[in-house]
C-alpha cells in the first residue's frame, strides 16, 4: 500500500496563506482604485492603428461590382455582376514580389485604375489592408498600405502629442516597436451624440495633421456605449451567483450540504485569487477575463468533485478509520490523477498562451494562474472546510451526548 500523505496537517497554514493572498488582492483593488477596466466595461472607443504609408490607390469604374480582399500571401480582386464575367483575380505575393509588378498586373483588369504612391520596388508581402474605407471599389480611391521593416519606429510620445486635442486619450504600444502598432482608447462620457463616428473621424484627422495623409492603417475599432457596459456588469454578477447556487444545490444533492459548502468556498477562493492576480498585474479586466474566471470555476469544481467522490468511497471501504485519515487517503490516492490532469490541461492552455496575442494571451495567463489555484484549493480549501465541519459536528455530538448523560444523571 502506498504511503498516505498527511495533507490535513497543512490545512491551517494553507488557509492562512490563501487569506493573505485574497486580502492583498482587496488591498490592491483599493490602492489602484479598481480594475484596469477594458472597453467592455467602460464606455468608449478603442482603435488599433498601425503606421503604414499608402502603397497603392485603386479606383474602379467598370460595370460590375469589384471587391478587394487581402491576406498575408495574396491580394484578390473579385469582380461580380451579370454583364461582366464573374471572376477572381488573384495575385500571390510569391509571383508578384514587388509593388511595380503587382500594379502592372492589376492595371490589366477592365475598369480598374491603379495609382502607385510608393516606390515600385516595395515588397508586396509588406502590404496591409486598413479596416476603414469601403472595400467595394468605386470612384473614390481606395488606399492599400504597407509597412516596411526598416521604417523608423514611431515614438509613443509623438502619437500622444498628435492626439492631445481630443482630451484624455490613452495610448499603448502593441507588439514590437518596429511593428509601429498602437492602441488608442478614449472614454465616452455620454455627453455627445454619435460619439463613435465623430471620435473615429477626429482621430483620423489628428493623425493626418501630425503625420501626413494616408500614413495610418486601422486594424480594429471597438465602441461600447454606456448602457451596454452597465448591462454586462449586472448580467455577469447575476450569472456568477446563479452558477454557484446551482452547483451548491447539485453537490448537496449528490453528497451532503457541507461538501457543497466546501466546493463553493473553494471555487470562490479561486475566483478571488484570480482577481488578486488581475489587480496586481494591472491586466485588463474585460469579458474575456470574466470568461477565464468562470472557466476556472468549472475546472476547479471538476477537480473537487473527483476528490469528494473518492472520500465518499474510502469512508465506505474503511468505516473504522477516522474521517481525517480517510480524507488523507482519498487525496493521496487521487493525487496522480490530479497531477496528470493539471499537466495535460496546462499543456493545452500553455499552447494558447504561446501562440496567441492580445486578450487571448491574457486569458491564457489568467487561466494558468487559476488552474494552479484550482488544483491547490481542491486539496487544501475544499477538503479543509469539509474536515472542519465534520470535526465541529462531532464535537457538538459529543457535547450533546455528554449533556444528555448529565441530564440523565440528574433525573
Amino acid at each position: 500500500m502506498k504511503h498516505i500523505i498527511k495533507f490535513s496537517k497543512s490545512f491551517l497554514p494553507a488557509v492562512i496563506i490563501s487569506l493573505v493572498l485574497i486580502i492583498s488582492g482587496i488591498v490592491g483593488y483599493v490602492v489602484y482604485g479598481g480594475f484596469n477596466l477594458g472597453v467592455d466595461f467602460q464606455a468608449g472607443l478603442i482603435q488599433e492603428i498601425q503606421f503604414a504609408p499608402t502603397a497603392l490607390k485603386l479606383t474602379y469604374t467598370g460595370k460590375g461590382v469589384a471587391g478587394i480582399s487581402m491576406d498575408k500571401n495574396k491580394l484578390e480582386i473579385v469582380i461580380s455582376g451579370s454583364d461582366v464575367e464573374k471572376k477572381t483575380y488573384s495575385y500571390p505575393y510569391a509571383s508578384y514580389q514587388n509593388l511595380g509588378s503587382l500594379a502592372d498586373a492589376m492595371a490589366g483588369i477592365e475598369g480598374l485604375s491603379v495609382e502607385l504612391v510608393a516606390g515600385r520596388d516595395v515588397a508586396t508581402n509588406t502590404l496591409v489592408q486598413s479596416a476603414q474605407g469601403n472595400p467595394r471599389l468605386g470612384s473614390v480611391p481606395y488606399g492599400i498600405h504597407y509597412v516596411t521593416p526598416e521604417a523608423e519606429p514611431v515614438s509613443i510620445a509623438d502619437v500622444r502629442k498628435a492626439l492631445t486635442s481630443l482630451g484624455s486619450v490613452s495610448v499603448q504600444n502593441l507588439g514590437q516597436p518596429k511593428d509601429r502598432k498602437f492602441l488608442i482608447r478614449i472614454e465616452d462620457k455620454g455627453n455627445e451624440a454619435d460619439f463613435a463616428k465623430v471620435t473615429a473621424e477626429r482621430i483620423s484627422t489628428a493623425l493626418t495633421n501630425a503625420f501626413g495623409e494616408g500614413q495610418v492603417a486601422i486594424s480594429r475599432t471597438d465602441y461600447v456605449g454606456a448602457r451596454f457596459s452597465k448591462h454586462l456588469t449586472e448580467q455577469a454578477g447575476l450569472l456568477l451567483f446563479l452558477t454557484m447556487l446551482l452547483i451548491l444545490v447539485y453537490v448537496s444533492f449528490r453528497f451532503q450540504f457541507h461538501y457543497a459548502a466546501g466546493a463553493v468556498l473553494a471555487i470562490l477562493h479561486d475566483a478571488l485569487i484570480m482577481v488578486a492576480f488581475i489587480v496586481w498585474t494591472r491586466m485588463e479586466f474585460n469579458t474575456t477575463t470574466i470568461a477565464a474566471i468562470l472557466t476556472i470555476l468549472g475546472y476547479s469544481i471538476n477537480d473537487t468533485i473527483v476528490i469528494f467522490d473518492r472520500i465518499r468511497e474510502t469512508l465506505k471501504l474503511y468505516p473504522d478509520s477516522s474521517f481525517e485519515d480517510n480524507m488523507n487517503r482519498a487525496i493521496t490516492e487521487t493525487l496522480s490523477r490530479t497531477f496528470i490532469t493539471t499537466i495535460t490541461t496546462m499543456f493545452a492552455v500553455f499552447s494558447l498562451f504561446l501562440f496567441t496575442t492580445g486578450t487571448m494571451k491574457d486569458f491564457a495567463l489568467a487561466l494558468l494562474v487559476g488552474m494552479t489555484s484550482g488544483t491547490y484549493s481542491t486539496i487544501f480549501i475544499a477538503s479543509a472546510v469539509v474536515l472542519f465541519w465534520e470535526k465541529r459536528v462531532k464535537k457538538n455530538k459529543v457535547k450533546a451526548a455528554v449533556a444528555a448523560n448529565a441530564s440523565l444523571k440528574k433525573a
Partner: protein, 573 residues
C-alpha cells in the same frame, strides 16, 4: 448492452456527425470564391443577377434560332423542359433539338426567360442555403463589422405621453427592424445580418470586410416615409427599355447609365414585396415623381381592418389636419393616377387614386399579410423610434487571418502536447486516449456545424481547453485501472472495475462543469458565449468518448485481440 450494439451506436454517431459537418467542408473547400461572393449577396441581388444573366442568354438563343444553330452547352437543361412541354401539348417531338425547336416549346419569350432565370437563381440560392448550414466564422476571424443598436423606448414614451405596453414595445422594435431591413442595399460583397437581440436591441453585422460607410447607411436616421405620385407612362416606357437593355441600363453603383430614358422630374425606384420569409423581394421598377407628394410625418395612425361587406383586409390610415389638406389637394389633382408609398428608397406599395381623399385613407386590394406589412410601414412614420448605437466593432480582414492562424497553431500545439504526454505516460492506453480525443474534436466541430454556431477565437480556445480537460475522464479511468491491476486483477476484471468505479466521479464532475458552462453561455453574445458553448459541447462529447468509445477499444483488445495484459504504465507489466 452488447459490444456489437455499442459499436453500431458509435458508427452511427460518427456518420451523423459527418453528415452535419459535410456542408461546412463543402462550403469552405469546394465552392469557388466567385460563387461564394454571389451567394453571400442579398436575395434581391441574386434575383437581379439571375434575371440579367437570363436576358443575355435568351438574346443569344434567339439569334441561334434564327441561324439554325444548336443550343449552347450551358443551356442544355432547357431541352429537358422543352421535351416535357411538347409531351404536355401532345405534339410530336422534333427530330433535332436545336435552338429553334427548344424555343418553340415555350409559350412565349417570357416563359423561356423564366425557365433560364429560375435555373440560375436556384443554383445560387442552393449555395446560400449551403452557407447557412455551414459553420459561420465570427467577426474576429473573418473580419468585418458589427453594431448593436438600442431602441430608445424612453423617448418614445415621452412622445406618446403614456407608459408603453409590451405590445407597444414589440411594435416599436418591429418597426425599427422593418426600417433597417428595408435599407439593406443590393450592393456590397456580403448580405448584412440583422436580427433582434433581447427586448430592445438589434444586432447588425456585415461579415467579410469592415465597411463603416455601408453600416452607417443602414443604421442612420429613423427611416423616411413619403408618398409620391407615379408616372405611369414613364413606368411603361422604362420597363420596355429595360427589357431591351437588360445589361447596360444600370452601372455598378445602381445608377442609370443613360439618365435621359426617363423624364427629368422623375426617378426610378424598385417595387418590393415581402416574400414568405419576410424578406424584401424585388417585383418591378416604377418611375415616380421626384417631388414628395406628402411627407409621412403627417400620419397619425394606421390600422388593419376588414371590409364589412366583402371581408377583405384593408388598411386605414389617419392624417393630421394639415396633412389632410395637403393630401386632398394632391389627390384631387391626380385622380386616376397611382400613389406610391416610399420608404427610404424602396416603393413598398402603390394604389390608384379613385377620388379626392382628405384625412382618413382606405387602401384595399391585398392579402392579410401584406395589409399588416403596409400598416406597419405606415406606422413607422407615425411613431418613429430613436435608435442609438451601443456597441460597434470593426475588424480588418488581415487581422482576422492572423487570428485564424493563431487559433489553429494553438489548437494543433495543444493537441500535440497533450497527446505526446498521454502516449509517453500511458503507453498503449495512450493510443486509446488519443483516438477518443480525435473523435471528441470531430464531434465538437460537427455539433458546431449542426447548430449553426459561429466559430470565434474564444470558441477555439474553448476547444483547446476542453481537449486538456477531456483527457481528465481518461486519466480517472486509467488511474483506476492501474490501481486494480496493482491489486493483481486480470485485464478484463481490472478494466471492468476501473470503468465502474470511475463512472460517478466522471458524471458528477462533468455535470457540475456543464452547469457552469451553461450559465456562461447566457452571458451576452460576445466572446464568452462562443467559449461557453464549445465548453458545454466538449463536456458532453468527452463523457461519450471516454465512457463509450474508450471502453469499446479496451474490450476489443480483450475479446478480439485476446490480450491478457494492459499496456498502461511503465511500472505495471
Amino acid at each position: 448492452m452488447s459490444k456489437r450494439y455499442r459499436f453500431f451506436i458509435i458508427l452511427a454517431t460518427v456518420a451523423i456527425a459527418f453528415a452535419f459537418l459535410y456542408p461546412t467542408l463543402r462550403w469552405y473547400f469546394m465552392v469557388p470564391k466567385e460563387d461564394q461572393t454571389l451567394a453571400l449577396g442579398s436575395r434581391e441581388q441574386i434575383k437581379s443577377y439571375a434575371n440579367r444573366k437570363a436576358q443575355v442568354d435568351i438574346k443569344e438563343l434567339k439569334e441561334l434560332a434564327k441561324s439554325g444553330g444548336d443550343v449552347p452547352e450551358r443551356l442544355t437543361f432547357l431541352i429537358k423542359i422543352a421535351k416535357e412541354n411538347y409531351k404536355l401539348a401532345k405534339l410530336p417531338a422534333p427530330k433535332k433539338w436545336d435552338a429553334r425547336a427548344v424555343l418553340s416549346a415555350f409559350a412565349g419569350e417570357k416563359e423561356a426567360l423564366d425557365a433560364i432565370e429560375s435555373k440560375y437563381r436556384e443554383e445560387i440560392l442552393a449555395l446560400k442555403d449551403l452557407h447557412s448550414s455551414a459553420v459561420q466564422l465570427g467577426l474576429d476571424l473573418s473580419g468585418g463589422m458589427s453594431v448593436v443598436i438600442q431602441a430608445n423606448l424612453d423617448s418614445l414614451k415621452e412622445r406618446l405621453g403614456r407608459d408603453l405596453t409590451d405590445a407597444d414595445k414589440e411594435d416599436a422594435l418591429n418597426r425599427a427592424l422593418e426600417v433597417l431591413n428595408s435599407r439593406i442595399d443590393k450592393f456590397g460583397l456580403t448580405e448584412p445580418v440583422i436580427r433582434r437581440q433581447g427586448n430592445d436591441q438589434i444586432y447588425v453585422e456585415i461579415p467579410g470586410a469592415a465597411d463603416p460607410e455601408r453600416i452607417n447607411s443602414i443604421i442612420m436616421g429613423k427611416g423616411r416615409l413619403a408618398f409620391h405620385i407615379v408616372d405611369d407612362e414613364a413606368t411603361t416606357a422604362f420597363r420596355t427599355y429595360y427589357s431591351q437593355h437588360p445589361s447596360d441600363t444600370f452601372d455598378g453603383e445602381g445608377k442609370l447609365i443613360n439618365p435621359s430614358v426617363i423624364p427629368a422630374d422623375t426617378v426610378v425606384r424598385g417595387l418590393y414585396n415581402k416574400d414568405k420569409y419576410g424578406l424584401d423581394t424585388f417585383v418591378d421598377y416604377i418611375v415616380i415623381k421626384k417631388e414628395v407628394g406628402l411627407d409621412g410625418n403627417h400620419i397619425k395612425n394606421a390600422l388593419v381592418d376588414r371590409d364589412q361587406i366583402t371581408g377583405r383586409p384593408e388598411v386605414t390610415f389617419l392624417l393630421d389636419t394639415e396633412g389632410g389638406d395637403l393630401f386632398y389637394k394632391l389627390t384631387s389633382a391626380n385622380v386616376g393616377k397611382s400613389l406610391a408609398i416610399v420608404l427610404d428608397d424602396k416603393v413598398k406599395s402603390y394604389a390608384r387614386i379613385q377620388e379626392p381623399i382628405r384625412d382618413s385613407v382606405r387602401l384595399t386590394g391585398f392579402g392579410a399579410d401584406e395589409a399588416n406589412n403596409i400598416a406597419l410601414i405606415l406606422r413607422t412614420a407615425a411613431l418613429p423610434v430613436d435608435l442609438e448605437v451601443v456597441n460597434q466593432q470593426a475588424i480588418g480582414a488581415s487581422l482576422g487571418e492572423d487570428t485564424i492562424r493563431q487559433g489553429l497553431n494553438a489548437l494543433l500545439g495543444g493537441i500535440a502536447a497533450v497527446m505526446i504526454f498521454m502516449l509517453l505516460y500511458y503507453k498503449g492506453a495512450g493510443i486509446n486516449a488519443m483516438i477518443a480525443q480525435i473523435l471528441n474534436l470531430f464531434l465538437m466541430f460537427s455539433v458546431l456545424s449542426a447548430f449553426n454556431l459561429t466559430l470565434t477565437l474564444p470558441s477555439i480556445a474553448g476547444f483547446i481547453l476542453t481537449i486538456g480537460m477531456a483527457v481528465d475522464a481518461n486519466v480517472i479511468i486509467f488511474e483506476r485501472i492501474k490501481e486494480e491491476l496493482r491489486l493483481g486483477k486480470s485485464r478484463k476484471a481490472a478494466i471492468d472495475a476501473g470503468f465502474d468505479k470511475a463512472f460517478w466521479a466522471i458524471m458528477d464532475s462533468n455535470i457540475t462543469t456543464f452547469i457552469a458552462a451553461l450559465f456562461l453561455s447566457q452571458l451576452g453574445t460576445g466572446p464568452i458565449q462562443g467559449f461557453a458553448v464549445s465548453l458545454a459541447i466538449g463536456v458532453i462529447s468527452s463523457v461519450f468518448t471516454a465512457l463509450f468509445v474508450s471502453r469499446l477499444i479496451f474490450d476489443f483488445g480483450t475479446d478480439v485481440l485476446k490480450q491478457k495484459s494492459v499496456s498502461i504504465s511503465w511500472r505495471i507489466k
